[in-house]
Subunit: 221 residues, 2 copies
């Protein structure tokens, strides 16, 4: 479902350049539950952003679901994202004016899901992440870990074929983090949703079928 060949991502900063990803060749099978690990600054978020059509590569090619996304224009990229990818950002990135409920409902609303079906789905997701009682809190009225869980529920809402989650449990206590991973793995086993998540936590890594390690922008394993 993901095919990356010789990917490079180079950021330019004044006269210097940062080689965030170097010669990444990387394959993910449909239905895999994959952990991306590596030290701070090793390129995990950058790789997830490239797979998630958020940033274009500097060199190399990348295919998602059989589509060559390397040189697509912004409109096509955002369509692909909206239809196929669920994304959890490292800083959660919820809409501050919407409640937890509305943030999770938003992707379903965009897809034209009927109201009663949306309501059922959002409530099921709030339950699954343990936030039923916090449905009408806005992000500023939630703890860090609660916001992270809303972001996860939102990424899962539209039943995307691939979920990219950037450190989805960084702000969660261990028990809640395990609950989230079980939820994600359950969806993977039941519906075949592909998951790629980055983490620094060995306990969370242990849920993965496969672990890919990055170091200084290269694949280390």
């Amino acid at each position: 479902i993901v095919e990356a060949q010789g990917l490079y991502k180079i950021f330019h900063l004044g006269k210097t350049q940062v080689e965030a990803l170097v010669d990444i060749t990387f394959h993910v099978e449909k239905g895999e539950f994959l952990a991306l690990v590596g030290p701070s600054g090793s390129g995990k978020s950058t790789l997830l952003n490239l797979i998630g059509c958020i940033e274009p590569p500097t060199r190399g090619t990348i295919h998602l679901d059989g589509i060559d996304i390397t040189n697509l224009d912004d409109n096509s990229l955002s369509t692909i994202r909206a239809e196929r990818i669920g994304f959890v950002f490292q800083n959660f990135n919820l809409l501050p004016v919407l409640t937890a409920y509305e943030n999770i409902e938003y992707p379903l609303h965009i897809r034209g899901m009927p109201k009663r079906e949306r309501e059922e789905r959002v409530k099921a997701l709030l339950d699954a992440v343990g936030l039923a009682r916090f449905a009408n809190h806005r992000p500023a009225e939630l703890s860090g870990g609660q916001r992270q869980r809303v972001a996860i529920a939102r990424a899962l809402a539209g039943s995307p074929s691939i979920v990219l989650a950037d450190e989805p449990t960084a702000n969660l206590d261990h028990a809640t983090g395990r609950e989230v991973l079980k939820l994600m793995k359950g969806l993977n086993r039941t519906y075949g949703t592909t998951f790629i998540f980055s983490t620094h936590d060995p306990q969370i890594m242990s849920f993965a079928d496969r672990v890919v390690e990055l170091r200084d922008g290269r694949i280390a394993s």
Copy 2:
């Protein structure tokens, strides 16, 4: 250095109320290295915000460095914060238009530290958190863990008497997290700086002299 008696923090949300902190009585000695732990939503960030003069309590009293901060006006509170407290927020909260260097320099600039002395101090701090080469990156040009480390360096810059750090290692790999804790503990042992940090990581907890546990807004241990 911190004296909390019968502290309550109640948030009102429409008709419902959230009891984020309930009857907290809590003492921290000068020079302690204390970890605050507990499940997601248990009140850690709220307690740190109260100690850090960011939010007023709903009931109860709180003294910081011998000063009763319970009912102070906003101006007095922000003066106390600027002079005595170094704060690392759960979402880092760096100034996006400033570079890493300038973000760390900012509190020293405000205090009127002379330029050459500032330069020495900022460089030493960038080194200490492993970001010497990233001095002129802006937050958007840094990884999540790198931003967190800039926030830590900034909190330590003005040599405050108390540092409050909300999950300072949540976005760091274990090796980098340990480096940060050793830096913090070194300052604590050398200069007597009081540290109160929240964490979900047992490895990070183990650096603390004392661990205070919150559960549902109450002290559990």
